[in-house]
Subunit: 450 residues, 2 copies
């Protein structure tokens, strides 16, 4: 049957509908192949803006787009919702639970999560920011921290609720620190009675000697200055040694903190096992110059899951343009093969540059010799992201929300959602004696305050 | 201490930040009182549009607004996040876990949930639509049903996944039936390979002899015709007798269905117990003509939680305008009392009319002798809701999303979010034998289909 089917059209299976997988599938949409995209979620996630969900600027639906919607006009692409559990390389089948899907070409584009450097037990204490549930969880924790500080009886506990530790000074860590700073300084500033949100202490902890290591030093220093103006404390050359439900051991100092956010390291789950290959410590799979796996010319690995050497580094940067280029390249290889032509020349990554945002009116751009910082860079960052959102989400809607938030300093998506028992514990730290509650009870409201 | 404090300013505690609670708090914002609003969620929910979250038209943040944001400019209103667990009427204290909040006036405005008529075990099988987590849960179930139908091996299971049973033919049931019909007929129509979403069977089950009983019969019949055009089957004079995880017993027929949505009955939890009063079977509290509780002139119940007789009915309609009028009335009573004046005349509900939407270009309006149906009613419905959203969420953003969806027939918020193990069971119904999967494996894609 497989032989028969092969005579019809080769079948390309793509695992993962991130930037790499989508680019490959779109590139193959008009080729004489059948394509199946398997993802465990029904949406493509526009990861560069995910942090804005965590900081209540955007809603999940603003940064995610149903995969079926993306491919509804591509007649040779089908979409399967399923969690891949293994690959049978001999029979050329992808397994997703009981479901088996045969392939002629396989593209593995599953992406990466953050790495806890072997301390996976920290994950629930210090969530990373890779999935929508991470973002809504972090949003919930940040907003609940202010709520709990408001009702805390105990000054120490109140202090702890207002401490935020962010681990990792890469783009995600910098964006989160900046956005929490803005939340505390502007969006929430007038919303509480017992606390001043501006008292929040935001610690950004980075292991190396500067933030945003991928950028020139001059732009890193600029990012530090902007964050410091927002009240962010930056600790360089410092490691987070331990995380507990009370706080983080930062270097040799224990910082009591209710909210710890993890934005460090790279970990690629599972793929080495599926493909039976050695990976690097992060789980990334080494690939041939054509991005195929050694000895398996029909199996490709792209995006954050692949190790593609570049300029003396172990791999190209883990950014969307790199994954897209790899996806398109692999589609070219498969098209050539299907047409009976020779495989194209080895993959070459074209680096267009880096851009990162720090906060309102502050971003940095590094494109070859062109460097820019400040408000113009920030507008360019915004316009570039609106542009890349095209095809993902009606970009005009995101633009409208940003513009609204820009004008009003408000954050629209400040929802603490989740299961019911959320608020049962509020006030648990309070002294149940009547005196304490009587005091709180009559706490002067703002009109009577200073 | 209480006497002392009372000398300063009376303290009004409002439980619940729905339409009634908000109206009362806003009305008291400039009065010489201190106001505390307690809610177990940090947002006000614009319930009339909640069904649009369940049907992937809007995001949660479009229909919810942080309570703190609403009151940040009211200096005598403070907001507490907490789940009320009881009321001590003698000591005039509201308990929320360990937290105790004293009051001089108490306004109970907790709203209502759907009633399962004593069969609370059906709740997880047939979720209602009262909270954001209900809406995202229903959205997940609807979208997953299509996904599971797409991968089902077994024709019977595929059929079951495409059956939707909606219990209750009031506004929520009608809106849900219409919106699922549109999802199946338009938004999802081209997105699948193995199934045709238009084959979805949508059953709307109503116990009385017509839909939308609060409207004149002529408009009910119109709603039936519109729904039938969308492919909705309407079963009148029919009860849902049982719900299981396989489907619903509708009258005497068992309908296999993966998705059951509950939109019937009214249940008010807890309040009778808190206040030590007899309630009706739905848990609603009977109130005096001034909306206070018998023998407790300082305690008021408003909104869906209260029984306020009207035109021979047990209570005024459970709609936002009624709750708002009651909230404002109670604020007047408290203001009069604080000023040492007599209580105002008894509460009188002013009914402005009903409006309901059925689907695209189809709504009904009933305002006294003025009745309207069709596209103009639908535009009026839309504009009225945009208008009432003012102060809740930047209404221009919701308008932009509606307009976008109107032009494109797309639904932007089609996200299946939640915990990870969601998709583990997909394909579990499949025959694990290789033959079955080989068949699926090579299922022709649309290009090769008919």
């Amino acid at each position: 049957m497989t032989e028969n089917a092969k005579a019809v059209r080769p079948h390309v299976v793509i695992i993962g509908a991130g930037f790499g997988g989508l680019a490959a599938a779109k590139s193959l949409a008009k080729a004489p192949v059948d394509v199946t995209v398997i993802d465990k979620r029904n949406y493509h996630l526009f990861q560069p803006l995910l942090y804005q969900v965590a900081t209540a600027d955007l809603s999940p639906a603003d940064v995610a787009w149903p995969i079926r919607g993306i491919f509804s006009s591509y007649s040779n692409v089908r979409v399967l919702l399923g969690k891949v559990t293994g690959v049978d390389l001999e029979r050329r089948q992808v397994r997703a639970g009981d479901l088996k899907v045969g392939y002629d070409h396989l593209i593995v584009a599953t992406g990466a999560l953050h790495s806890y450097f072997g301390k996976d037990e920290w994950a629930p204490l210090a969530p990373g920011l890779k999935r929508i549930i991470d973002a809504t969880e972090i949003r919930k924790r940040i907003l609940l921290a202010f709520e709990r500080a408001e009702t805390a009886e105990d000054a120490e506990e109140q202090r702890r609720q207002l401490n935020f530790v962010i681990v990792g000074g890469g783009p995600t860590g910098v964006e989160m620190a900046g956005a929490i700073g803005e939340l505390a300084n502007w969006a929430l500033a007038k919303d509480f009675n017992a606390i001043n949100p501006r008292d929040a202490r935001i610690l950004l902890v980075e292991g190396t000697d500067r933030l945003l290591g991928a950028f020139p030093e001059e732009l890193s220093r600029y990012a530090e200055r902007v964050l410091e103006k927002l009240g962010v404390e930056i600790l360089l050359n410092t490691q987070v040694v331990d995380c507990t439900d009370k706080g983080a051991l930062v270097g040799e100092t224990f910082v009591p903190a209710a909210t710890i956010i993890w934005a460090a390291g790279v970990a690629v789950p599972d793929i080495g096992g599926w493909l039976g290959v050695e990976t690097d410590r992060a789980g990334r799979v080494p690939v041939q110059p054509d991005l195929s796996v050694s000895g398996r010319p029909e199996v490709f690995v792209i995006g954050d899951a692949a190790m593609v050497p570049w300029r003396g580094e172990l791999s190209v940067p883990g950014i969307a343009p790199a994954a897209k280029q790899e996806g398109r390249y692999v589609a070219d290889v498969i098209r050539a093969e299907t047409a009976g032509k020779a495989r194209p020349a080895p993959f070459r990554y074209r680096h267009f540059g880096n851009l990162a945002t720090i906060g309102r009116n502050a971003a940095i751009i590094d494109v070859g010799r062109f460097r820019l910082k400040g408000w113009l860079a920030w507008w360019i960052w915004g316009i570039a992201h609106i542009y890349f959102l095209i095809g993902v989400r009606a970009p005009i809607l995101v633009a409208a929300q940003w513009f609204w938030a820009y004008l009003t300093f408000r954050k629209g998506a400040r929802l603490i959602t989740g299961l019911e028992p959320l608020f049962e514990h509020i006030g648990k730290a309070a002294d149940p004696a009547a005196t304490g509650t009587e005091r709180r009870d009559r706490r002067p409201t703002r009109r009577t305050g200073p």
